[in-house]
């Protein structure tokens, strides 16, 4: 993951600690408690953040691995006798 992906996740986790809304009794749109509304927003932003990350920060070595479709013998099968089942 690129540096900005880690940064976005860090910001989301900090925003998750919304202590400023801890005792707020305001109802957003007349029925959503403000603390709940904030966390609904975090869920939506998380979806957008992950869309950006899988679009622009997808690991390149994974796609290379896909090109090599031949299955290799597992390392345990290459070990010396008695080192693995």
């Amino acid at each position: 993951m690129k540096w900005w992906g880690w940064l976005v996740l860090g910001i989301l986790l900090v925003a998750h600690q919304d202590y400023w809304l801890w005792n707020s009794k305001t109802l957003v749109a007349g029925f959503i408690p403000s603390g709940l509304a904030w966390h609904i927003g975090i869920s939506v932003v998380a979806g957008l953040a992950w869309w950006a990350i899988v679009t622009w920060s997808w690991p390149t070595d994974i796609d290379v691995a896909e090109d090599n479709r031949e299955r290799a013998p597992a390392p345990s099968k290459r070990m010396t006798k008695g080192s693995g089942p």
Partner: protein, 541 residues
């Protein structure tokens, strides 16, 4: 025909449909272990999304969230749902995709096989197997208890006057008893898992995920209208929120430290054995993109209605049998505010959420027992592929029987049991993360971390009276008041410290072995401690 009988018939019809689906999917299977366990790596993005999500959401998400919102309020969404939205996708991205890569390359069917190979340590596999089984039993209990509660509540009054269906609580008299509901759910899941294997499980999960998500929204609208009683859905929701206990609309009394410590709980996803098996079914790495992006939004769709319903239930009068049992709040609301037909379908949706996790857990337990314990000990060549599948099935029956008997012991909250299971799995996350990203991790380090986690988890779980003390937390004085923290902080920290220090004090792994998993690494890392020479390679336990 009474309303309760209508609901019961719909539930029975749904359970029979699932068995039919298992039979149908079995026709597409090939008679190989790889097909039975991994659906021949044929699962595309949509099916992968639905099966991963269906497996992740269980009675914990439906019954547990509604019940906890009823007792603790909106804090429950921040504690579990929004944090999971961020961190579950993090686990799928950083653990799932990379694990899939090595699973595809070397043919792994479980995470134990990967860790045993990565660290060249058969001993680690033999320690991890009982650890994962131990941790998954509370998770299984959630589903077994939840299915019994849902069926019992929704069939109340179906057989009035029948002595076998007598219940001491007048509201539940004539209902299918919990023990029978749980038994029926276990029997149905066992049947379609046995017939359809992973392919049947993935298909059933997809169907059940669509069912419980859509029916969840229908339930929400009906309950909002029923409790609020306004002219429009908006007026009803507004009315319901204003009637609710105002303390549940804020997080006033909940410890901020404890809230923060819950951030570690979603890391448990990276070590769920049943999730790992689903990851390994992916057709290609790109299939993971859709689950990663949609997971937070799907969690929102399931959890927000449940949290609202739990909070709103505080504003109405509930019978004692419901207000004293948080697990029964959602089934009660469904029974109270939906027509018999819709209530039956909604119960099917509730069971769908529960059973879509149970099936994967059953299958992964059988897989781990056969491939990570029995065959390595008894000798793989002695058993045909058919015999291996039957060995897996026998072990599944034993574990389900144990979980079923434990479920009859009267545990109170599926939420609390779930959090304890997640606490243990989250404690193992550092080991999986290090195995994928830290070349210097040694088998001794992973083993020490695992043993430390088991010790810490058992100690803390026992201190909580095996989950019966619902308020258990790590407590300390902070100024003039007591602060609290979830025990997951202890399990994660203890495992990490034990794993890192033991790895650094033991011989580094053999360079050629590490290179199989880290192709870019040519030079092995040298030990930071002079008494351990980097040339002393081998590291096998």
């Amino acid at each position: 025909m009474s309303d309760a009988i209508v609901r019961l018939l719909i539930i029975v019809g749904y359970l029979l449909t699932l068995i039919g689906l298992g039979l149908f999917s079995a026709r597409f299977g090939r008679a190989t272990n790889r097909d039975y366990l991994l659906a021949s790596h044929s699962i595309g993005p949509v099916l992968l999304l639905l099966s991963i999500f269906g497996t992740t959401m269980t009675a914990f998400a439906m019954l547990g969230s509604t019940g906890e919102a009823f007792t603790r309020g909106i804090v429950i969404y921040g504690l579990m749902a929004s944090a999971s939205g961020v961190l579950h996708s993090f686990c799928i991205f950083l653990i799932g995709v990379r694990l899939w890569k090595w699973g595809r390359r070397y043919g792994y069917t479980t995470q134990i096989q990967f860790l045993r190979d990565r660290l060249a340590s058969p001993a680690l596999g033999f320690v991890l197997f009982p650890t994962l089984v131990l941790l998954i039993i509370p998770y299984l209990l959630i589903g077994v208890i939840g299915s019994g509660v849902a069926i019992e509540t929704m069939t109340a009054g179906a057989f009035p006057g029948w002595s076998i269906f007598h219940n001491d609580s007048p509201q539940l008299d004539g209902a299918v008893p919990r023990w029978l509901g749980s038994l029926a759910a276990c029997g149905v899941v066992l049947t379609y898992v046995f017939m359809g294997g992973m392919r049947g499980t993935a298909w059933a999960n997809a169907l059940q995920t669509l069912l419980f998500m859509s029916l969840g929204i229908v339930t929400f609208v009906m309950v909002a209208r029923g409790i609020g009683g306004g002219d429009s859905i908006w007026a009803s929701m507004s009315q319901a929120s204003q009637q609710a206990n105002p303390d549940l609309l804020t997080r006033g009394t909940f410890s901020k430290w404890e809230f923060c410590s819950y951030l570690l709980i979603p890391l448990s996803l990276g070590m769920f054995p049943h999730l790992v098996q689903h990851w390994l079914t992916a057709r290609n790495a790109r299939a993971f993109k859709l689950p990663i992006v949609c997971h937070p939004i799907f969690i929102l769709i399931v959890w927000v209605p449940c949290v609202f319903m739990g909070v709103w239930a505080s504003g109405i009068s509930l019978p004692n049998s419901v207000s004293n049992d948080p697990n029964a709040v959602l089934p009660f609301l469904v029974q109270q505010y939906a027509t018999p037909l819709v209530a039956g379908l909604l119960t099917a949706g509730l069971l769908a959420a529960i059973m879509s996790s149970l099936d994967s857990q059953f299958l992964c337990l059988g897989t781990m027992f056969t491939h990570d314990l029995f065959l390595p000990l008894a000798g793989r060549s002695r058993f045909s592929e058919t015999a291996q599948v039957w060995i897996a099935r026998a072990f599944i029956v034993v574990v389900v029987a144990v979980a079923y008997v434990l479920s009859l012991q009267g545990f109170r909250s599926v939420f609390v049991l779930g959090v304890w299971s997640f606490t243990g799995f989250a404690g193992l996350f550092p080991i999986m993360f290090a195995a994928l990203y830290w070349r210097r991790l040694t088998a001794a380090g992973a083993l020490a971390g695992t043993l430390t986690m088991i010790g810490a988890w058992l100690f803390l779980f026992a201190r909580s009276d095996w989950g019966n003390n619902r308020k258990f937390a790590i407590e300390w004085m902070w100024g003039d008041h007591v602060e609290r923290m979830n025990p997951v902080v202890i399990t994660v920290l203890a495992t990490t410290l034990s794993m890192v220090f033991t790895s650094l004090f033991t011989r580094p792994p053999a360079a050629d072995h590490v290179a199989m998993f880290f192709p870019q690494s040519i030079q092995p890392e040298k030990s930071v401690f002079p008494m351990v020479s980097a040339s002393q390679e081998g590291n096998q336990l």
